[in-house]
Amino acid sequence: MISVQACLDGILLGILFALIAYGMALQWGVMNIINIAQGDLVILGGYIAYFMYLYGIHPAWGVIVSPIIMFFVGIAIYKLVINKVVDRDLFISILATFGISILFMQLMNFAFGADVVLANSDYGTTMLFNSNVVLPNSKIFSAFISILFAICLVIYMKKSKLGRAIRATAQNARAAKILGVDTEKVYAATFGINAALCGVAGALISITFTIHPYMGLPYTIRSFMIVIVAGLGNLPGVAMSGMGLGVFEEFADYILGTEFRIGSVFLLLVLILVYRRFKLSRKREYLK
């Protein structure tokens, strides 16, 4: 029964990871930037929901408020830093976003304190299989909301004008520019949408799990991992590998102990990259 519990927990957790990873895939595909501060944006979004909870508003409203605030935070970050590193060497953008990550981590530490916090949603729990498996309703809620947001975003990207502009820029930025797409605006919007997605995910995480100022980097690594396993622009793949990662984590937590949970995530990243490298090197290719 514990394995069923871990599987279900993992899948519900993995859907959240997939949402964050989708944001990362979006900006990676469009702007060719790997955002190390992704996880910190998630945590910041979580704190917004947590603060609503502190002031007596139900934290589920954070799902609406948090992305709106985070959208503007994302655009601000883009205007201040990212637009200067878009066309540069990838390492520059990694290092610059790493700086942003450290900055955010510490600012959140000052603003919200170093305690592990959780916004209580009072959703109760669902018992399955003669109450051998306990599922908090908040987890089901968060999975449902993330799927909803993902579907909305996919439709938006397919149908709307901005969505088409974003996809065109991802395919070929120069050609898009020639055809009259304001790529600067597209980049800003992409980063904003990514930050908004992080905001949604963060609000959901603050309801279902816990948040802490220093917990950002694991989320970045998870989403990076999901993206490299699934590939850019492969949405079902992102969802599947997100859930797979969630299940892996729950089992690692259960088998190795909680203190090795984060360590096992990072180790899995290294192993996946090394596996891919050996697989590709047989064809004398490499990851790029």
Binding site: V85, I94, G99, I100, F110, L217, I221, F260, L273
Partner: protein, 353 residues
């Protein structure tokens, strides 16, 4: 040519004399000076990867932390049961005699240098096959994973940390600072000689070739993988040594805050090398010195806001100053770097644009 060598050797001798005299000139800053030496070692060895080879590693911290833990463990484990030592949490139930301390330190440093080198050799083949940002993120993951995992291992103190053996009471009060200063200065000199030696050989050219175009380098018949691994092993050797010294100097090892401190040391070494100018011999040294002076001068000034300042500093340096101090000097005084610029040619090019 001879004139150049003379000038350089005068410079080197001057620095050497200054280095030896420094702890007596500035007795209050002995610990700071030793940390500076360690920082220079880290930045210089990072530069072998990041600057010369074009492999931006966040993972050199792995060897640094490994060396730190190994040196302290060997130093304790040679004479006392290690598990009990860490369990007592630095209580003085076991006391090293001076002879034991120095013996342990010597053996510990040797182990701390050799094991990371072997580890680098073993994982090098897998990791160095990655390129660009995949390498950067993979090594970042490696460093964090090492920190998280070592934080769960009981025998080296797990979450509560590991107290390194206290310095025995020999000589005067200052002897601890002097000992660690001269140790780190010795390692610095060793590193400098080694790196400078490397940079005068074909090895450096191969590393540069890998940086500029790895596929072409391979097509020219260079076994790039071999050289990449050797480069990483050299870095690991000195990082391990630096870590061992730093462990003794700090006196306390924590898995994520001291040893595998990706947020501080791991970024510092990258930042210092970039600040000074990567891909140059003197760049990391200048960068580390400037950075350390800035850090020590202003860290107390920011009081609690250090990491905010660090984050801003990273962003500013990376965006506005990616060529570093040496790059700036090179642009300003190209003649000093042996580059001849034809003014007419330069102007002509500008006009063409």
């Amino acid at each position: 040519m001879f004139k150049m060598i003379n000038k350089n050797s005068i410079l080197y001798i001057g620095i050497l004399i200054f280095g030896i005299a420094a702890p007596f000139l500035f007795p209050a800053f002995k610990v700071q000076l030793s940390i500076l030496c360690v920082l220079i070692v880290l930045a210089t060895t990072w530069n072998i990867q990041g600057g010369e080879m074009g492999y931006n590693s966040f993972g050199n911290i792995l060897f640094y932390g490994l060396g730190m833990y190994l040196c302290a463990s060997v130093q304790v484990g040679m004479f006392f049961p290690l598990a009990e030592w860490t369990e007592s949490g630095g209580e003085k139930t076991f006391v090293h005699t001076p002879a034991q301390f120095f013996q342990g330190m010597a053996v510990g440093l040797i182990v701390a240098a050799i094991v990371p080198t072997i580890v680098a050799g073993l994982i090098g083949y897998s990791i160095l096959g990655l390129r660009g940002h995949y390498f950067a993120i993979c090594t970042l993951g490696l460093g964090v994973a090492a920190g998280e995992i070592s934080g769960g291992i009981e025998i080296i103190g797990a979450g509560q940390g590991f107290t390194t053996p206290p310095f025995p009471e020999v000589g005067s009060l200052d002897s601890r600072g002097e000992f660690f200063y001269f140790l780190s200065f010795f390692v610095l000199v060793l590193t400098f000689i080694a790196v400078r030696g490397i940079y005068t050989t074909r090895f450096k050219l191969i590393l540069n070739a890998i940086r500029d175009n790895e596929d072409k380098a391979e097509a020219m018949g260079i076994e790039t993988m071999k050289y990449k691994i050797i480069g990483w092993m050299i870095s690991a050797f000195f990082c391990g040594l630096a870590g061992g010294i730093m462990g003794g100097l700090v006196g306390y090892i924590d898995s994520t805050d001291v040893a595998f401190d990706g947020r501080e040391m791991g970024v510092f070494m990258v930042l210092m090398a970039i600040l000074g100018g990567k891909g140059t011999l003197w760049g990391p040294i200048i960068g580390a010195t400037v950075f350390h002076i800035f850090k020590e001068g202003f860290w107390t000034f920011f009081l609690g806001w250090q990491y905010v300042a660090l984050g801003v500093l990273i962003v500013v340096i990376v965006i506005y100053f990616p060529e570093g101090i040496m790059g700036w000097l090179r642009e300003k005084y190209p003649e000093r770097f042996g580059e001849v610029i034809d003014e007419k040619d330069r102007k002509a090019q500008v006009e063409l644009k």
